[in-house]
């Protein structure tokens, strides 16, 4: 998981590369670097953020270059391990995103052949292999070098005396941005938004030769034309616009995201995707696969579909499924991946496809790998999400799941009318939670003083508790655990006490009474209780120590408002503790390594 960029054209490459890199820091930021083609190759790199690198760099005039921002896998973050990596003569520079499985043997072999490798990275073998195979033809040398590599090797290479960039994609995304007498390469769209909206998505196995006026792509050695896409995202989406953090901006964008997503689904002539599979058929074995926050959306999807459509649904973590899950041709599967590039999710799709399952992907990235390998894709309209902690994309995934389930619901027509009316009201309900921000921030100031916090929920709000705990731990570094309310007494009770607060999510459905009982049990163990309750619930006074009220809503949609309240709670706890909210330590967005 790293961000890579490339530029070739008539302008100075250095400022463009640095600007593009700054937009990719969500993919990793423990070190960064650039290489610019001048008379020779000039490499600048360090274990700093892009902003600091920008301040310390001497100006270089070259108009072609590559850049990298790193999330360390092989070799600790250090100056020597930062990219770009070079060959012995310093004539070749490479930036790489991926993991080379056979790098030890390659390294040994290269060392035997008198190549001197100085870093601990797997990447360094690539420039040395290119150097080894170089025989006057840069492109051929890159092709031969990549043939030796077993693993994932999305990369860009630059060579002295060669006014072109050579890019290759394997298992991590790579996008070419088309400009006017200039071209760009990047791991993700936000890096390019300042320069162009015309992009080409490379596919696995592609090698592209990019000059200022041309992009030539080869698939397994044969020239191929890849479709050019127009990106609908705009620069605005990738700026903070008044907010202190992207996360808060993105939390506040949710009413609009819901509105946009619904408008897209409602106005479409056909349903976004057929839940029964592309070729119709029955719906009796549905599996949902995802990782992280998307997995929590999937768990809520289980409750939505089971309640509305009345079929059993299995939800599994994509990575677990890849190692030991059961796939069969009878399966209808929904795979949820925000980026459409998460390795674990892509593997799951491939495994399902091999078994003959029908796969619907839910993703936020048009043209992403997931959308190309699934049978059908439901796009969420969340726009680019910069904050590492997912908020608005989670919300858009929930809307997609509601929308997928509604046409198959077995409820009567007046209930269906009610649900459609209610789903259209969601933007207002979410806005109302946001309008209550100050009260939530007050509760957060209190919670920020603790080191262990439990989140509990029941029924459709059980996954909301899991997600609330995940949000809190990833940005505030407080140890938080999400539990099904009924499970608390099977173990975790031993940890309760006045130093361990519990956040209880109470919905106005059949889980309300047992939740009240759970809260009483917790109170008996002296744990402070913060309850998230609907405004119509008047029984919480005197029971919970503090209360966050959320708007009255059909219990089926309660995860929407409850999640937003918990997002704000996590945000303000992290802020109170002075954490780097948009870039939590050790984390990166869209994990494209295993």
């Amino acid at each position: 998981m790293c961000g890579i960029v490339g530029y070739i054209g008539e302008k100075k490459a250095q400022p463009i590369l640095l600007n593009c890199l700054s937009k990719l820091e969500y993919r990793g930021y423990d070190s960064c670097g650039i290489a610019v083609l001048d008379d020779d190759i000039k490499v600048y790199k360090d274990i700093v953020r892009v902003k600091s690198l920008t301040r310390t760099l001497p100006a270089v005039d070259g108009t072609a270059g590559i850049g990298h921002t790193r999330w360390a896998t092989h070799g600790e973050p250090s100056k020597v391990n930062a990219h770009p990596q070079s060959d012995c003569a310093g004539r070749i520079a490479v930036v790489h995103n991926g993991v080379i499985n056979n790098f030890r043997e390659l390294r040994e072999k290269l060392t035997e052949e008198d190549h001197i490798l100085v870093s601990q990275t797997d990447t360094e073998v690539i420039p040395h292999l290119i150097e080894k195979y170089y025989n006057g033809d840069f492109e051929e040398a890159v092709g031969l070098a990549l043939k030796d590599i077993d693993g994932s090797y999305t990369m860009i290479a630059l060579m002295a005396g060669e006014p072109r960039l050579i890019a290759a994609r394997k298992d991590s995304p790579l996008i070419i941005g088309i400009g006017d007498r200039e071209n760009f390469i990047a791991s993700d769209v936000p890096a390019l938004l300042d320069y162009t909206s015309r992009v080409i998505y490379l596919e696995d196995g592609d090698i592209a030769v990019v000059t200022a006026d041309a992009v030539k792509i080869k698939e397994n050695g044969a020239a191929i034309t890849r479709e050019e896409h127009k990106v609908l995202w705009n620069v605005e989406d990738a700026q903070k616009g008044g907010y202190e953090h992207f996360m808060l901006k993105e939390i506040h964008e949710q009413p609009k995201v819901i509105r946009d997503t619904l408008a897209e689904y409602i106005s479409a002539a056909e349903p976004a995707a057929d839940l029964t599979g592309v070729e119709g058929g029955s719906l009796d074995d549905l599996v949902i696969l995802a990782c992280g926050t998307s997995y929590h959306a999937g768990l809520i999807g289980k409750y939505i579909i089971e309640r509305l459509v009345d079929v059993p649904v299995r939800v599994e973590l994509a990575d677990e499924f890849n190692y030991s899950g059961q796939a069969s041709a009878r399966n209808k599967a929904i795979v949820i991946t925000q980026s459409g590039e998460t390795t674990d999710a892509l593997k799951a799709i491939r495994k399902l496809k091999e078994a003959g399952s029908q796969v619907i992907a839910i993703t936020n990235a048009v043209g992403s790998t997931a959308s190309r390998i699934a049978d059908r894709t439901v796009y969420t309209r969340a726009g680019p999400e910069i904050s590492v902690a997912a908020t608005k994309t989670f919300m858009a995934q929930l809307i997609a799941l509601y929308w997928l389930a509604l046409p198959y619901s077995k409820v009567d027509i007046s209930r269906l009318d009610e649900l459609v009316l209610e789903i259209r009201q969601l933007p207002v309900k979410v806005q109302k939670v946001l309008d209550n921000e100050a009260a939530i921030a007050d509760c957060a100031r209190y919670l920020a003083g603790f080191d262990n916090i439990f989140f509990i929920g029941k029924g459709i709000n059980y996954p909301v508790a899991l997600e609330g705990a995940l949000k809190l731990k990833e940005i505030s570094y407080i140890h938080a655990e999400g539990y099904a309310a009924g499970e608390l007494k099977h173990g975790p009770f031993a940890l309760l006490g006045s130093g361990t607060p519990v956040v209880a999510i109470v919905a106005q459905d059949n889980t309300c009474e047992p939740m009240v009982t759970s809260i009483k049990e917790i109170k008996a163990r002296k744990s402070p209780v913060l309850a998230v309750v609907s405004e119509e619930n008047e029984n919480m006074e005197g029971l919970a120590d503090s209360v966050i009220t959320v708007p009255q809503i059909d219990p089926l949609f309660s995860p929407v408002v409850n999640s937003v309240a918990l997002q704000l709670l996590a945000y303000y706890v992290a802020r109170e503790r002075g954490c780097p909210i948009d870039f939590p330590r050790n984390l990166a967005k869209s994990v494209t390594v295993e």
């Binding site: 705009n234 409602i266 806005q431």
Partner: protein
């Protein structure tokens, strides 16, 4: 002039319930916040460097304007924590301005032509406008093109030229801004110190919202100049006449009549057999069911209007749900707002997220707070506070 300071921190208390969750500058007229009219006017006059002073419910401004990119400007946000007055707001940007700059109010609706001449003026200067009811504003006493003094809301106006709240200043203004809270007092003090303040008159659009019902007349005025554009799907059998804007993804179903000037947002579901009559603005994601007529009204985002409703001369804020057969027709009424009881011709003014069961009738001039619930077959009148339940 290259830079503008736009003051958009104030609440606008007399506009409640519509300003409970947003500032006055974010009130929507013809489907656009007032503040958007201001920044677009600046952009069209070549002013792209904008400092926006925000305070009350500032997140709504961030969410809508962002960095300004979409509107052709580059916004720097400054927060005025407590809204003490316009001079105090101006003081917040003391260290950020160029030598000369414009100051505008974010909650008066203007058009590009309003300030086309004024952006070229030499500071210090104030833009004035001739109005029929000067007693509501700061009346500017002018001699030989220069301001003698400004009197706020005089009992008897010496002229009908009023202060628009649009000024051209140099950094000198900050020396006078510390001792008083509002900009007119700053000007009076500057005049007393011997400064010459030019007065320039504009014949362009300058509209102020003071009371909730002003939204209706402003909406009508602004709708006269909209461009025709039909996005979404207009089913055959629907009739569209006059200036009508329909957003992307909206469906106008068979048998519906839309007679402009009308603006309809995106993602709406209108009809079948719905009449939207002149001077009506409808937000995004609005559902209007069969046999409903809406006229001379402003409907917010995410509103659901059931079958058989009649809504005229009314303002309905976002997220309200009408189950069906709701009636609100404009008529003569006296509405008390902050001790004043002006006589107006208006239907219902309803805050956000209200639920109205079937067969409810609103008497003219009713002001319904936010988050109210009205049970079946009620007649509502007067003023209902936020969160009222009408059984």
């Amino acid at each position: 002039m290259k830079q503008a300071i736009v003051l958009a921190a104030g609440e606008g208390q007399r506009l409640r319930p519509f300003t409970v969750t947003r500032s006055k500058a974010m009130l929507s007229i013809a489907d656009k916040p007032i503040l958007q009219f201001v920044v677009e006017s600046l952009a069209q006059n070549g002013i792209h460097d904008v400092i926006l002073v925000v305070g009350y419910r500032k997140e709504q401004v961030y969410d809508y304007l962002g960095s300004g990119e979409r509107f052709g400007i580059d916004i720097t946000y400054v927060t005025q924590e407590t809204q003490l007055g316009t001079a105090h707001a101006l003081l917040q940007v003391k260290d950020m301005t160029e030598d000369e700059f414009l100051v505008l109010s974010g909650d008066n609706l203007i058009k590009a032509h309003t300030i086309a001449e004024f952006v070229k003026v030499e500071p210090e200067a104030v833009l004035v406008k001739r109005v029929s009811d000067p007693e509501r504003y700061g009346v500017v006493n002018i001699e030989g093109g220069e301001v003698k003094d400004i009197v706020e809301k005089p009992k008897e106006a010496v002229s009908n030229l009023v202060n628009t709240g649009i000024y051209a200043f140099t950094k000198d203004v900050f020396k006078f801004a510390e001792s008083v809270l509002d900009i007119p007092d700053v000007l009076n003090n500057m005049i007393a110190e011997g400064y010459n303040i030019k007065a320039m008159e504009t014949a362009g659009t300058w509209l102020d919202v003071v009371y909730p019902w002003d939204i209706i007349s402003l909406n009508e005025a602004v709708l006269q100049n909209i461009d025709v554009s039909l996005g979404g799907t207009i089913e055959s059998g629907a009739s569209i006449k006059g200036k009508v804007m329909v957003g992307e993804g909206t469906v106008v179903r068979a048998g519906s009549c839309i007679y402009g000037p009308v603006v309809i947002g995106s993602g709406c579901d209108i009809g079948p057999n719905v009449c939207v009559m002149p001077a009506t603005s409808i937000g995004d994601n609005v559902v209007i069911s069969p046999f409903t007529e809406i006229k001379n009204s402003v409907i917010g985002n995410d509103v659901a209007i059931g079958a058989g409703c009649i809504i005229s001369d009314s303002v309905i804020d976002k997220g309200c749900v009408f189950k069906g057969r709701f009636t609100a027709i404009g008529g003569h009424s006296e509405v008390r707002v902050n001790g004043e009881s002006p006589s107006v011709n208006v239907g219902a003014m309803m805050g956000e997220d209200c639920v109205v069961e079937s067969n409810v009738t609103a008497q003219p001039g009713v002001i319904v707070g936010n988050y109210c619930q009205i049970q079946i077959s009620r007649v509502i009148n007067g003023r209902l506070p936020d969160g009222s339940l009408v059984y």
